[in-house]
């Protein structure tokens, strides 16, 4: 009798567990499906518009024909500029946090600053860019104002990635260098940083893919709807792929005429970002696996 009860209870537990685990699995499946549906829809609708001409030509006839070349170039300038501005500060911040800081109040304060900055909505970065870079510094709506705004936006991402990479370098590496008589900076420069380079680069790729897709921070600081030439100086406005997609999708007067172009532009951006992210994720996994220490 007792035994039978125990067995039924076991079976009940099992059944519950199966149901519960299925639900958990379904939750995960939703994420898979969301990614799948978005990728599938964008590729199905957008693949037809892709061609070499689409990537290499200026828009024509009130943007109802032609390509997205200037938007790609503009996004490239903005992104490269943002990375160039942010990486030195990010690496230095991470070096301080990981190698020099000794705990205590200042570390906490700096960390709170980084975490808070990471949580600030991107549109608020746009407002800062407008009030500070565009107006107070007098840069105007320009490539440089967009670069600086985006640079601040990706700073926390880069700092975290670099800090993680530095943290993964074993203590013994530092101790070895210091024991040989290296100063702290010499040890960091010649031993710790080189070992952390793959991680720093992965972080940089993730930063690039974030910066290239951001729209809100450049709306009032850098982006132009349409330009007949490529930006030549830092104070020119630029076209940018995400802004181009946004404007085409929301303000285009003849939707059916430009539908293919819109999906094409969206697919170009999505493709760029997905390839960079996929590359960064798989590369990071490989580096972690291959690591000997």
């Amino acid at each position: 009798m007792m035994r039978e009860i125990a067995v039924t209870e076991q079976k009940g537990k099992r059944a519950w567990q199966t149901v519960a685990f299925s639900l958990l699995g379904i939750s995960t499946l939703v994420a898979f499906l969301a990614l799948g549906v978005i990728l599938y829809a964008m590729i199905r609708e957008g693949a037809g518009a892709l061609s070499w001409e689409f990537l290499s030509q200026f828009p024509r006839k009130m943007m109802t024909e032609g390509g997205v070349y200037p938007a790609i170039v503009g996004s490239f300038y903005l992104t490269v500029g943002a990375i160039a501005v942010a990486v030195p500060f990010a690496v230095a911040s991470a070096i301080w946090l990981s190698e020099y800081s000794r705990g205590g109040l200042w570390v906490r304060v700096v960390r709170v600053g980084i975490n808070s900055l990471a949580g600030v909505p991107s549109i608020v970065f746009g407002l800062l860019g407008l009030a500070f870079f565009v107006k107070v510094l007098g840069l105007g709506v320009s490539l440089i104002a967009g670069v600086l705004t985006l640079g601040l936006l990706i700073l926390p991402i880069l700092i975290r990635a670099t800090e993680e990479a530095l943290g993964a370098v074993p203590m013994a590496f530092r101790e070895g260098a210091l024991a040989l008589g290296a100063t702290k900076w010499y040890a960091v420069r010649t031993v710790v940083l080189p070992s952390a380079i793959p991680g720093v680069l992965t972080g940089a790729i993730l930063g690039i893919s974030r910066a290239v897709g951001e729209t809100a921070p450049i709306m009032f600081t850098a982006a132009a709807f349409y330009m007949t030439r490529l930006p030549e100086t830092l104070s020119d406005k630029v076209m940018a792929l995400p802004y181009h997609i946004f404007v085409m999708a929301t303000e285009s007067p003849n939707y059916w005429k430009t539908r293919d172009l819109q999906f094409g532009a969206a697919l170009v951006l999505l493709g760029m970002v997905m390839l960079m992210n996929l590359g960064a994720v798989t590369w990071r996994a490989r580096v972690r696996r291959r690591k000997q220490w």
Binding site: A20, G25, I123, L128, A216, Q262, L269
Partner: protein
Amino acid sequence: MRSRPLKIESPLADAPVDLRPISQAGLRGALLLLKERWDRPVFFALACVSLVALGLIIFFIFREAAPLLREIGLIRFLSGQWTPTTDPGQFGALPMIVGSALVTLGALLLAVPLGYGAAAFIAEVAPGWLKDVAKSILELLAGIPSVIYGFFGLLILAPAFQHAFSLPTGRTALTAAVLLGIMALPTIASLAEDALTAVPNSYREASMALGASRWQTIRRVTFPAAFSGLIGAAILGMGRAIGETMAVLMVAGNAPQLTASFLKPVRTLTGTIALEMAETPFGSTHYHALFGLGALLLLTTLITNGLAEGFRGRLARKHGR
């Protein structure tokens, strides 16, 4: 035979050795300091750049929003209607506050259960290979730019919802909430997964040793032990959802009306700034009011962020990490 005095060949040995502490070594000491100890203060100064950036944001957003207190007053700004183009314009943020809250609430109703579920699956149930795949998928989902989500929502999700619910327009709070839910899902799932992984294995072993099934262990032991981290994950997801701009702007419909219905168009704080800032004359009341919306957003996200970090920190301390 007398031995010759010992002569040291090394050039280093001839150099005068200054054994005074660096602080008393005068100019030489100062130069040494510059040469060998410049690194700590310089890196500290550079590490403060995030703090400076945050300070700039807070200062400029509030400075540009401040004239609002004089021109409209806080009470009227936090209540009332938003009709910026009438004369005189009305700048009440209430419709947008409600809009943002509605959309965020809907997104959380979707993303929190799914995010916790996915986190539990990844942390506790899935075998190793599936775990890696699922984490990569979440990372890819998080990497999709918000303008792409918006584009997808506008051209595919909104028409589908319009058809399904027979609405005059598919651009509603519901569409925005669903889209935002998908966007917040990877954030919540990966942070919740961190929280579950932080629970020591001895908890699970003890529970299983007492005869609990794996599911009972998850529900009665792991989840409660990770509770504060799970709450932190949800709050951080909420902060993301409130601050999200492009996707919401493209699918929420943007009618600045006060409504609590999910099937009507709504307008959010972020959407209003994005929509109107470009055409607003610099220094006008409208301009200040938009910065006022920005200040509300900034305050909300700073608070949610602080709360989330607090909860997550509590979990980390509890399990000694």
